[in-house]
């Protein structure tokens, strides 16, 4: 079994296309980093004085800078703008939290006691209360903000491309080269081999995922000079001068905790997609068809919903449970969303992970069935 697994892994990574695509992707990564190189600045010292409750005087200072065109223009470095923005945003963030609670309570009043809606709003309220109001401080966590954003954006593209190029041929190539005759007529060909291929797919995907995470963390640590801010609250996470993507997230998490969760869910999503590609590969004798179909499964919901912002029910639902959404992770955690399971509200991340686990289990089982029953008649 171990021998088979090693051979299967070798088959995947010995192909030149895998290497070429990996190199191209890493070059693109480099370009991506270079294009916003002015953002990679360690401003922890500038932030230090404001890591306390922000006062009205601070706001007035910021306002003054905003209005002074000499000091605040397009040449202001992102880190400086970021600090000012972060100080300025404190008040609206606190107000936002209050407003959110008020709205929920109003909705609670309107809902029938014991109904799904009621339970949903009650859960939301409970989570927000656990999270508590924003502390009113400014936090420095920029290395994490950029790192987490990189996985959300480039990480999905990287993993998608690596999985497609590496795994589309998993079974398709066996069919197209005629190796299926030898595989299926061998003792292990209808059992252990299928397990070995599945494990190889998982190991390959995980390795790509860890490789990217490692590169990402090293690059950001080097660019920023440190990885400060792991122990700051998630709601305060933002890139320089950017909005706070997790500002209204109902989850009380620290930035470091969220990073670990993001990596875990990103890994689960990637492996699930890898195994979906494996299943499609077992159905088609053409690696190209597998690549195209799998690419569509990954890309179409993303394009329609995230890029073109199409808000049709079906597409939203598709995108809700899509592989790209799971691999991005952000949308799972940055707002409150539940799924109705027998009148009980289930949190979106829990629902998404459960659904993907069941679907992936079925696909693995399906792959086994398809290959075992494969008839060599071409």
């Amino acid at each position: 079994m171990m021998d088979l697994l090693k051979h299967e892994l070798f088959k995947i990574i010995s192909r030149k296309s895998v290497l070429i695509v990996a190199v191209l992707l890493l070059l693109t990564y480099g370009l991506f980093i270079a294009s916003r190189s002015d953002h990679y600045h360690n401003a922890s010292q500038e932030y230090k004085p404001y890591e306390r409750v922000i006062t009205e005087a601070d706001r007035e200072m910021v306002l003054k800078v905003f209005e002074d065109e000499e000091r605040y223009n397009k040449d202001t470095p992102p880190s400086e703008r970021g600090l000012l923005q972060d100080i300025w945003d404190i008040q609206s963030m606190q107000a936002g939290y209050e407003r959110q609670l008020e709205e929920i309570r109003a909705q609670l009043d309107r809902s029938v006691l014991g109904s799904y809606e009621y339970k949903q709003h009650a859960l939301h309220e409970q989570l927000l209360l656990e999270k508590g109001p924003p502390s009113g401080q400014v936090y420095y966590n920029k290395p994490w903000a950029y790192m987490i954003d990189m996985i959300d954006q480039f990480g999905v593209a990287f993993m998608g491309a690596m999985i497609l190029i590496g795994l589309a041929s998993l079974y398709s190539e066996e069919y197209s080269t005629g190796m299926d005759s030898l595989l299926l007529s061998s003792r292990k060909g209808k059992g252990k081999l299928i397990t070995a291929k599945c494990c190889a797919a998982i190991i390959y995907t995980s390795s790509c995922c860890f490789l990217f995470a490692l590169i990402n963390i090293v690059v950001h640590a080097l660019l920023f000079g440190n990885l400060d801010g792991a122990n700051t609250p998630l709601y305060s996470l933002s890139k320089y001068g950017d909005s706070h993507p997790f500002g209204t997230s109902p989850y009380s998490l620290m930035v470091g905790q969220y990073y670990a969760i993001q990596l875990g869910v990103h890994l689960v999503g990637s492996v699930a997609f890898g195994l979906a590609v494996m299943f499609i590969s077992s159905l088609s004798a053409s690696s190209f068809v597998t690549l195209f179909v799998s690419g569509c499964i990954l890309g179409v919901p993303y394009l329609l919903n995230d890029l073109f912002n199409m808000q049709i029910q079906v597409i939203e639902w598709l995108s809700f449970y899509s592989y790209s959404q799971l691999m991005r992770v952000t949308r799972l955690f940055n707002y409150f969303q539940t799924v109705n399971l027998g009148n009980i509200p289930v949190l979106y991340p829990v629902a998404a992970l459960s659904v993907i686990t069941v679907v992936t289990g079925l696909l693995v089982w399906g792959t086994r069935l398809v290959f075992r029953k494969h008839q060599v008649s071409a």
Partner: protein, 290 residues
């Protein structure tokens, strides 16, 4: 070992590739002979457990190979007509891969792979990538992988296709050296491949078994039916119309022809000892029979 093929049929969409094929194979080498499209490959795929028969059963020592599953394939060696390879693998790695597919321990496999590479004369090319191999070398690698697990049931689909005469002799020697306690079924169009090694010959056409018998017995039946004669050009076409005409050899003194006929076709014709080619012509060359 006894391999029983029980009333096997195989239907492709609108065509019966095999219909009601029954045979019994015991230890020894069997030659499967038939023209293109006879159904040899289809039959062999079913014996290799990679194609389900539409009807009928295949039994090894009385047990259905479908219920034997892995246990049957453990005893099996199979060389497909068009054998696939991984082009980026070396010959050695490829055989090691097949060995692990066959469930062999690495240590055992290393020795066995070397042995096989020697057997098929590829030892010097063990560490070359398969993409640099010629067609004949690939064929030999295919033979090596089929023999890797010392199979008790060996199915070879046109093993000598693409081999040069020297390698064909090597293959024939390998076949005769394989110890007797196994069933070997090999299909071929090159009748001399099985002339000396095959215990019995199975003749099939259009998905059906025409004859299964020992070669000498089959040839015996043709005794007195094979003729040789010298004719001139003008006689040839009328001869072709009335008889099955085999080898036509143009010589300075005229045309030497081999004729299959129950009665003497020409006053000058002399009987010849029947060979495998005559057998092939007799059973499969219907076009000439009319």
């Amino acid at each position: 070992m006894k391999l029983t093929i029980q009333d096997i049929s195989k239907q492709y969409k609108d065509k019966w590739a095999i219909s009601h094929f029954s045979a019994e194979l015991n230890n020894g080498v069997y030659g499967l002979l038939g023209p293109n499209g006879a159904g040899k490959t289809t039959l062999m795929r079913m014996l290799a457990d990679i194609l389900q028969p539409t009807a009928g059963n295949i039994l090894l020592d009385g047990e259905d190979i479908r219920t034997m599953g892995d246990g049957y394939r453990d005893l099996l060696g199979y060389l497909p007509q068009h054998c696939g390879f991984y082009k980026q693998f070396t010959a050695h790695r490829f055989l090691m891969y097949i060995a692990s597919l066959k469930g062999q321990e690495k240590k055992y496999a290393l020795a066995k792979v070397d042995e096989m590479l020697h057997l098929v004369g590829l030892a010097d090319h063990a560490n070359r990538k398969i993409k640099s191999f010629s067609g004949g070398m690939r064929r030999r690698l295919g033979i090596a992988q089929a023999l890797l697990n010392d199979p008790k049931v060996l199915i070879l689909d046109e093993p000598t296709a693409g081999l040069d005469p020297k390698e064909r002799i090597r293959f024939r020697n390998i076949l005769s050296e394989l110890s007797g306690d196994r069933i070997v079924l090999l299909s071929t169009h090159i009748v001399s491949d099985i002339e000396y090694v095959a215990k019995e010959v199975l003749l099939m056409n259009e998905g059906q078994l025409l004859k299964q018998d020992r070669l000498v017995t089959l040839l015996e039946q043709l005794k007195g039916m094979v003729w040789k004669a010298m004719i001139d050009e003008s006689q040839l076409s009328s001869l072709k119309r009335h008889y099955k005409v085999g080898n036509i050899l143009r010589q300075p003194s005229g045309i030497e022809v081999r004729i299959l006929s129950k009665e003497q076709p020409l006053p000058s014709a002399r009987t010849e000892t029947p060979g495998l080619e005559d057998l092939y012509l007799y059973y499969f060359n219907e076009e000439l029979a009319e």
